[in-house]
């Protein structure tokens, strides 16, 4: 009798165990919802590339727009059976999720979080985009040797781990090429003053400004800047700049504006993806969609319901050459791709806005 009871108990336990799945940690609410929608586009397109019969069991949970909500969502994904997680979106979220992953031992792959610390000393944290150090290096090389800039100001948002980290990485990279960062402006959104960010620099003896900020902080700064200030500085931007109205705001005002990105719609090698995206969603893909598309394709290719999280982790480390629309992933042992390429775009004249080059691929 006792034996039967045990068998029944084990059977119930086996039935209660959630089905292994590929979890999607996507921000569909809050300030990151727009980018989250792009992530879903990329995911959807990648899923469509896989025959219906071979599509894995997958489900998504809203990661919200904060680090806390992302950690909650990660736990929920794992609780519900995810053995591999795609997401989250930002560095701030990914750093927090990385700590949770260390405890839960279920790997996650962020397609978009560039912060160097995301994958540092953590075997369960992966990314498929270029890290800050790559973005910073590409932009510093371009600023120093193409644009011949020697003296720059770096502007960072103190609330954002991504912004401060990227600003530091760029400053180091620029200095390593004999450039001089004459000032680092750290602003706090709580204190306000974004609208005078650039104007406050009018008297600084510098040739350019790196604005390591997101679109919502960038636009007030551009709108608050005088013609003279915008004519004085070359503006350097990063992937967080993406958003509506930017090119129009810069048109005819800026001396120059260049942005480092992961993807360009003018990139010749991405024509098929761009066409598919346009057809499915009636718009051009942005960086989050393209990066997620590449990451999702890689994960869909390696995920298996039989593989436990540790096996999936090891499989991720085996991804030594995975071409994609955002460049080739050559996964390194630290969970970050080796020398992932960067796109440089010129923005200041919408009519001439153009893809400049892909570096380091």
């Amino acid at each position: 009798m006792k034996r039967i009871a045990w068998i029944l108990l084990l059977a119930v336990a086996a039935c209660a165990r959630p089905e292994p799945a590929l979890g999607l940690l996507v921000s569909t609410s809050g300030t990151l919802a727009d980018m989250g929608a792009e992530v879903l586009h990329g995911w959807q397109l990648a899923l469509e590339d896989v025959p219906a019969a071979k599509r894995p069991h997958s489900f998504q949970i809203d990661a919200g727009s904060s680090a806390v909500s992302a950690v909650r969502a990660y736990h929920e994904l794992v609780d519900q059976g995810a053995t591999l997680v795609l997401g989250p979106l930002t560095t701030d979220q990914a750093v927090a999720v990385a700590e949770a992953a260390r405890e839960r031992r279920v790997p996650f792959v962020t397609p978009t979080a560039t912060g160097d610390e995301v994958t540092r000393d953590n075997r369960w944290a992966f990314r498929t985009c270029a890290a800050d150090r790559d973005v910073a290096k590409a932009l510093a090389l371009f600023a120093r040797f193409e644009l011949q800039l020697a003296r720059l100001v770096v502007v960072v948002d103190l609330s954002s781990r991504w912004s401060v980290g990227l600003g530091q990485a760029f400053a180091d990279a620029f200095r390593q090429r004999n450039g001089r960062v004459v000032e680092t402006v750290a602003f706090a959104p709580t204190l306000g003053g974004q609208s005078t960010l650039l104007e406050d620099l009018a008297q600084v003896d510098a040739e350019g400004v790196l604005l390591a900020v997101r679109h919502d902080a960038l636009m007030p700064a551009l709108r608050g800047a005088s013609e003279a200030t915008l004519a004085k500085f070359v503006l350097l931007g990063v992937d967080g700049w993406q958003g509506p109205g930017l090119a129009e705001e810069l048109a005819g005002r800026a001396r120059g504006a260049y942005v480092a990105r992961h993807f360009s719609t003018q990139e010749p090698g991405a024509a098929d993806f761009i066409a598919k995206h346009r057809e499915a969603f009636d718009e051009l893909p942005g960086d989050p969609a393209a990066l997620t598309y590449d990451a999702a394709r890689m994960l869909l290719g390696l995920w298996s319901p039989e593989a436990n999280p540790d096996a999936l982790r090891r499989a991720l480390l085996e991804q030594h050459h995975v071409p994609g629309v955002t460049g080739t992933v050559r996964m390194a042992s630290d969970g970050s791709p080796n020398a992932k390429s960067i796109v440089l775009e010129q923005l200041h004249d919408p009519a001439r806005s153009r893809f400049l080059r892909r570096l380091a691929d």
Partner: protein
């Protein structure tokens, strides 16, 4: 032959000692500009001497208002002191002359006048007498009794030197003060261990194996002088070894009332500036808040002098003024017996009572201190009682409750962690836990309403039986913390963060929740730091006073997350409140993580204070090239006079880019 005491080198050396910090000649010139124009000619009109002109001073031989300058004997913040001859009486005086630049400063003249009038109404054999003073026509001086001998700072120097060289006896007074004592000491048995002993005809000699009676006797004499000054309503405010002069005859005299103040007039300068000598100031003088300073402040400083005499160490050391002041406010001094095991227990008790942080726990008067020292000298029971372990704990709690260290989150976190660990391990009953938790929260100086709320929450967490229950409780607490932040309820938020940190630090907490907890608190702390920055910049109150808010930011410098440190350091650096410099320096000195070190250097760079030069120079040797570069740039901006010398190690730096930058600095300065 020029007198050695008047050479610029000697003056600088003296100034270094008097001011408690090293000066270079250019800085010195700036502070004490040479006389110029008509006034210089006037002062030098009677000069018949060809002696060198001391930096910014009066020429030897010149007669000023009836006093003929003989040599310069010292230099302090309030003026240059000369040995001079009062021509009409033929007596030697010490003439303290205000620096010419200071005569144009009304506040300085007021201080000078106050010193003169304060001392003029004192008449005591242990206080240097004033013979006259004059403030007119761009000239300000005080003529004082000339005391030939060593001040106690020089005595301490001699004792230290003797100890270093393994000598046992040190002569500190007498006609043969300069003679080598080694020969004298051979075959002698030291007699007379206190000043005034008739057997000390050759002057006072201290036996390094037992310097305690002499130290106690000298300080008892100083206490007599202070008693007299206090009885006449004068607080000295700058008691330190160099202001206690031991005459060649072996009589101790209290001098330099340059910072003296009437007891009725409060304690601070009008601007709230720090006054005094850093190592010897009392906690109430060191406090950035406006705290009334009374006689007990002098007792503290005299206690520190006694401490140094018996241990040959100052209770609080450090290269930077801000660091010393912070220690005075927050740390307990090491017991003298730890530094010198021979220190008698009673004398140690007296010293520690004199330098209690809480003035109410010190000797109430100089008279009480002097009496206890004499009881010690006469082998009678002293009145002071040593503190037990329980008293020390209670004292800590009281000190925190006074608000001196509100915001030192780390301490609270450690206390709470320990208590919570005990709760978990079942080491003590719930009633006991709650009582101790209450004490810990009380120590943080928060309103009682916050205690009740925090205790209630802690009780709920302790009572939660399952991980799920605890998670719910924690979620609720995080939501409450967020709400407190949104509503700017600062005291509540400080309490909540302390408790959350305690849980985060607890090893046995639900592992799934730890990342959530860390992510939550980091977000809250970052926004909190920014809000505090905004409020401090705007001088808004928000429930906490300015110092308390600064303390919270200072506490965040210790946070394990570099982004929190970056925010706190940027805020403090941008606010540049003088009272926070020590916290930044302390944090940098103790930090082990490169990212956090870099953040702290960024804060110091914004601060732009010369006191950070030494620590930034150390950071030039950091293992992280990014930290080395940050230090280089910060130093370059601070631009100390010896910048190139400080940067010199970078000429061989492993990183090419750092060497390039170093070369650029050199090139900019025209060295290459």
């Amino acid at each position: 032959m020029p007198d050695d005491d008047t050479t610029p080198r000697k003056i600088l050396k003296d100034a270094t000692r008097v001011l408690g910090e090293r000066l270079d000649s250019a800085e010195f010139e700036r502070e004490y500009p040479p006389l110029s124009g008509d006034r210089t000619e006037y002062l030098h009109a009677g000069d018949q001497s060809s002696s060198d002109l001391p930096l910014g001073g009066l020429r030897v031989g010149v007669v000023v208002d009836g006093y003929r300058i003989k040599r310069q004997i010292g230099r302090g913040g309030m003026g240059v002191v000369y040995e001079a001859e009062q021509v009409n009486l033929g007596r030697t005086v010490a003439l303290k002359v205000m620096p010419p630049g200071a005569v144009r400063n009304e506040r300085s003249v007021d201080r000078f006048r106050r010193e003169a009038t304060a001392v003029a109404r004192l008449s005591h054999p242990r206080i240097v007498a004033v013979h006259g003073f004059n403030i007119s026509d761009g000239l300000a001086y005080i003529a004082m009794e000339f005391v030939q001998g060593l001040d106690l700072a020089e005595v301490i120097d001699r004792l230290r030197t003797a100890r270093t060289h393994g000598r046992r006896f040190v002569r500190i007074s007498g006609p043969e003060l300069e003679k080598d004592i080694t020969e004298w000491a051979q075959g002698r048995k030291l007699i007379g261990t206190v000043p005034g002993d008739p057997r000390l005809r050759d002057g006072i000699v201290i036996d390094l194996r037992n310097p305690f009676p002499m130290a106690a006797a000298l300080v008892a004499d100083a206490a007599d002088a202070l008693r007299h000054a206090h009885a006449h309503g004068v607080i000295h405010r700058d008691i330190k070894p160099s202001n206690l002069i031991l005459s060649r005859e072996g009589r101790l005299k209290l001098s330099d009332f340059g910072l003296a103040k009437d007891t009725d007039a409060g304690s601070l300068t009008e601007s709230g500036d720090f006054v005094g000598s850093p190592a010897y100031v009392s906690p109430e003088q060191a406090s950035p808040r406006r705290v009334r300073v009374d006689e007990r402040s002098d007792i503290y400083s005299l206690g520190v002098t006694l401490y140094e005499l018996v241990t040959l160490h100052q209770p609080f050391g450090g290269k930077h003024v801000a660091v010393i002041l912070r220690q005075i406010l927050t740390k307990d001094p090491p017991p003298p017996s730890k530094l010198n095991p021979r220190v008698p227990r009673d004398l140690e008790t007296i010293v520690l009572k004199a330098i209690e942080k809480d003035p109410d726990r010190r000797y109430a008067s100089a008279e009480e201190l002097g009496e206890d020292l004499r009881r010690f000298l006469n082998f009678e029971p002293i009145r002071a009682r040593p503190l037990g372990a329980a008293s020390r704990t209670l004292r800590q709690i009281r000190r925190h409750r006074m608000g001196v260290a509100v915001g030192t989150l780390l301490i609270a976190v450690l206390v709470l962690s320990a208590l919570l660990a005990m709760v978990q391990s079942g080491a003590s009953g719930p009633g006991e836990d709650q009582r101790r938790l209450e004490q810990a929260l009380l120590a943080r100086g928060l309103p009682a309403a916050q205690h009740e709320r925090a205790l209630r929450w802690l009780a709920q967490l302790s009572a939660a039986e399952s991980a799920g229950d605890r998670r719910d409780q924690l979620d609720a607490a995080l939501a409450d913390a967020q709400a407190a932040l949104t509503a700017s309820r600062v005291p509540e938020l400080v309490a909540r963060l302390a408790v959350l940190d305690a849980f985060a630090a607890r090893g046995s907490w639900d592992e799934q929740q730890r990342a959530l907890l860390a992510a939550s608190t980091v977000g809250i702390k970052v926004e909190f730091a920014q809000r505090l920055w905004a409020e401090l910049a705007a001088n808004a109150s928000g429930g906490f006073d300015r110092r308390q808010k600064l303390s919270v930011l200072e506490g965040l410098l210790q946070d394990p997350d570099w982004l929190v440190v970056e925010n706190a350091a940027t805020a403090l650096g941008s606010l540049s409140d003088s009272s926070s410099l020590g916290a930044l320096l302390d944090a940098l000195g103790q930090e082990v993580d490169a990212a956090r070190r870099r953040a702290l250097i960024g804060g110091l760079r914004r601060y732009g204070h010369p006191d950070s030069v030494a620590l930034l120079s150390e950071a030039l040797h950091d293992e992280s090239p990014a930290v080395r570069m940050a230090a280089l740039e910060a130093l370059d901006e601070l631009d100390p006079n010896d910048l190139l010398q400080r940067l010199a190690p970078l000429a061989r730096d492993k990183a090419t880019w750092i060497r390039h930058r170093y070369d650029a600095v050199l090139a900019r300065r025209g060295r290459r």
